[in-house]
């Protein structure tokens, strides 16, 4: 029974956790600008993510050691400083964007301006983490995230032309706006394969005390969870392609994206979109702030555990408190949520190689993984992901200059 519960958790986390501000923005923009031709980048990003998530879970189950801790132990402190600092900066911006998503959802429903509610939202998330436990947060936000099924229903209602949809799954060169096309490919990969997911999943595995018996469940969870999540992201592309692309509407603000469900659900379209966006961003915000606290605490050897009372791991708790406060402050400055989201996706793509390179070493270290080290397939995918993300990182900067975003 425990394993079925775990798979269910994985699937729920996949859908709830997968669809956050980054995926929503990039999928909506991709659908509006290029119809279905960017679906392949979602699939590519998800395949890499499935392997990396499975490895993170396996590492947690076998070595009982955290990812961030293992990287520090294998590579030493000087190697860890730059990647960890870069990740924390990107996580802070991402947290700002997620809080922005929640504030925008509330603004859609109530009209209250974003700057006013940014810091209160940060405080509410902080209270939830302070009082709640990891399972509570994961199940709660992810279960609500299931509302994202509305996008699947809408996509079916819009009944996209299947042959064109199928063609979208194969990588293709752009017919127009090459800079914008490739920047969206990068942002989609950045949105799907974000380092915080790996740390959150690995730390969750340790807190839930996974062991060798959980390996099968871990693989199933990774495939089903991330797979369902990717399917939801693809339905956002389909809906956006159906509603916006024929009219030549390009996504510049979330106000436009909010319209995507109206043709399918009438006057429930905007409220439903607001609830889905708000809930998914709320869940993602808790995950990003916790993942940052996990990776910092594990790198420096502090006591860490979300299930413990915060007083017992003061520095871990202080980290997510500070992150949430500054996340709220970023949003309170009135910066446009969509611009911040796209900037963060670009930066995530640049930081990605730093987070993935250590995988090739720690996943093949018998001292930690005993006989469960990576097989040739696993290593091939990791090396491919490193090369892919390295190219993506190098290309992001010039692309950005050519006004890709």
């Amino acid at each position: 029974m425990k394993n079925i519960g775990q798979v269910a958790l994985g699937v729920i986390t996949g859908i709830g956790g997968f669809l956050e501000i980054g995926t929503m923005a990039t999928s909506a923009e991709a659908g509006a600008a290029f119809r279905y031709s960017l679906i392949w980048s979602v699939v590519l990003g998800t395949i890499c993510l499935i392997f990396l998530i499975e490895m993170s879970g396996r590492h947690a189950a076998i070595s009982k050691h955290s990812l961030a801790g293992a990287v520090r132990e294998r590579f030493g402190f000087p190697f860890v400083v730059v990647p960890r600092a870069a990740e924390l900066i990107v996580n802070l911006l991402l947290l700002g964007a997620e809080i922005g998503g929640v504030c925008f959802a509330i603004k859609l429903l109530t009209g209250v301006p974003i700057q006013l509610i940014a810091i209160p939202i940060g405080i509410i998330i902080w209270i939830l983490i302070w009082l709640g436990t990891l399972d509570g947060i994961e199940y709660g936000t992810a279960a609500l995230g299931m509302l994202a099924i509305a996008f699947v229903v809408a996509a079916v209602k819009y009944h996209p032309p299947l042959h064109e949809l199928a063609r979208g799954f194969a990588p293709a060169m752009p017919h127009h706006d090459a800079a914008h096309y490739w920047f969206l490919v990068i942002s989609i990969i950045g949105a799907n394969v974000s380092p915080y997911m790996l740390y959150f999943y690995s730390s969750g595995g340790i807190e839930d005390e996974w062991d060798e018996k959980s390996l099968g469940t871990n693989r199933l969870t990774a495939i089903l969870g991330m797979g369902f999540g990717a399917a939801t992201a693809i339905t956002v592309i389909i809906c956006s392609a159906h509603v916006f692309e024929p009219l030549g509407i390009r996504i510049d603000h979330y106000e436009q994206v909010a319209f995507v469900l109206v043709p399918a659900f009438g006057k429930w379209g905007v409220p439903l979109f607001a609830i889905i966006l708000g809930v998914c961003c709320f869940g993602a915000a808790t995950e990003v702030s916790l993942a940052s606290a996990y990776s910092l605490a594990q790198s420096l050897g502090w006591n860490w555990a979300e299930d413990d009372k915060p007083q017992r791991e003061a520095r871990f708790a202080l980290t997510y408190t500070v992150m949430l406060f500054f996340g709220g402050v970023i949003m309170a400055t009135g910066i446009d949520p969509l611009k911040l989201t796209m900037l963060t996706m670009g930066l995530t793509a640049v930081v990605l190689p730093l987070a993935i390179i250590p995988f090739i070493i720690i996943m093949n270290d018998e001292k930690y993984m005993h006989e469960h080290t990576n097989g040739p397939i696993g290593n091939t995918v990791v090396v491919f992901t490193i090369v892919l993300t390295a190219i993506v990182a190098l290309v992001t900067i010039p692309l950005e200059i050519m006004g890709g975003s």
Partner: protein
């Protein structure tokens, strides 16, 4: 025993199984005509910073003094207190009042004490 691979940067666990930092440094005593002796392990921001560059170390020491939570930015644990060097390093200290957790106590008393719930 491989000092770098098995000890450096490993997680420190105190007497009642609480995590209390990582092995940031290892002190070795050189002696005439005798093999160098492993004297102690060190942890603290200054020790970590020193491994990056001297300038970082000076910055860490100054910051430590100004914030004034720990008495000294380096905390040394005698090698004899190291009980086991498996995946983690078990040390025979009660970290609750020892400097490694000085920050934890400071935050608990000064910041979290004010939280009503």
């Amino acid at each position: 025993m491989k000092l770098i691979n098995d000890v450096l940067d490993k997680q420190l666990i105190d007497r009642d199984c609480r995590k209390c930092g990582r092995v940031d440094g290892i002190v070795i005593e050189l002696r005439e005509d005798e093999p160098p002796r492993v004297a102690a392990i060190e942890c603290g921001f200054a020790v970590c910073a020193r491994r990056v560059s001297e300038r970082w170390e000076r910055f860490a020491v100054v910051a430590g003094k100004r914030l004034g939570v720990r008495k000294s930015p380096r905390y040394r644990i005698a090698w004899e207190k190291v009980l086991d060097t498996g995946l983690d390093i078990d040390v025979d200290i009660d970290s609750e009042d020892a400097p490694p957790l000085a920050w934890e106590k400071w935050i608990r008393e000064h910041i979290f004490a004010k939280v009503p719930f």
